[in-house]
Amino acid sequence: MPQLGKYAPEVLSAYAVCIAVLVVLVAASWWRARQSAARLERVEKETGRG
């Protein structure tokens, strides 16, 4: 761990928020992609247009 000195809270919180926002964004996008693929597959089966 590098010596961040008196600015440790600022630097660590900046990295923590950045990583948290990116993880939530990627996870939400991935989850929505899976949901949409499942919905389309179901509808295509129902309509016979796969």
């Binding site: 600022e10 996008s29 309509t47």
Partner: protein, 243 residues
């Protein structure tokens, strides 16, 4: 073959499928390498101390926040002029990514600004135009969610995107337009000049910028594929109901 054929939904789904895993892998590799390099293996700045490490996340996220809106502007114009559905769905897909990047840039800017400027926030031209850009992102997403008819939503959000571009331009160039305020001018792409970023910070910063660009592309392509699937599912459901 015309470039517009790549915007055909079926072709778009076809060519993005093999490209996406490579984009994800490259994005993660670049970002992880850049952040580990910048956080653990670069020295403190003689004036800013360890807060200089925030540059590796603040600058790339701010660049993407502004340029995502320009990408949305171009794809919205393509929709208005040529009525390509994939282009407007790409704009819709990019908006949450741009908004998230704006949040990161605003937060990291505030926590960097407090020890350096003595304040979390100032109504500085660049900061203010950036906040307004964030509000435009929220408005753009709210408009998509509020209108049921997809083509009407596409038309109205495209117009909103044109209007919001003023603030994207202001966010990018405010430090040049107004020689006042706390935010400094650009110091990244000024190699060799005395006010440019030192090389020890420059290389991991460039890698981080490359990683954020790749991440943006990966997210937008994945989210556009999602929007295309949802649109097709809605069309098939509507056809089923009317049959």
């Amino acid at each position: 073959m015309s470039i517009w054929e790549y915007a055909n939904p079926k072709k778009f789904m076809g060519w993005t499928r093999p490209v996406l895993p490579w984009l994800w892998a490259l994005a993660v590799a670049c970002i992880v390498t850049a952040l580990v390099w910048g956080f653990f293996f670069t020295p403190d700045d003689y004036k800013q101390g360890s807060t200089v490490k925030i540059i590796y996340i603040h600058v790339p996220s701010a660049m993407i926040a502004i340029n995502a809106w320009f990408m949305m502007l171009i794809t919205s114009l393509v929709w208005i002029v040529r009525r390509h559905h994939v282009s407007v769905l790409a704009a819709k897909a990019a908006a949450p990514v741009g908004a998230a990047m704006t949040v990161i840039a605003l937060f990291t800017g505030a926590v960097w600004g407090e020890p350096m400027w003595g304040t979390w926030w100032a109504w500085d031209p660049r900061l203010t135009s950036f906040l307004v850009l964030f509000l435009f992102y929220l408005g753009y997403m709210a408009l998509w969610a509020a209108i049921e008819d997809a083509d009407t939503a596409a038309d109205l959000t495209s117009v909103l995107c044109l209007v919001g571009s003023v603030f994207a331009v202001l966010s990018r160039y405010a430090a040049i337009f107004w020689n006042q305020g706390l935010h400094q001018g650009s110091s990244v792409f000024r190699a060799g000049r005395p006010d440019s970023v030192a090389e020890v910070f420059y290389l991991p910063l460039m890698l981080s910028i490359a990683g954020f660009i790749l991440l943006f592309l990966a997210l937008v392509l994945m989210r556009t594929r999602t929007e295309i699937r949802l649109r097709r599912a809605s069309a098939l459901e509507a056809r089923m109901r009317s049959a």
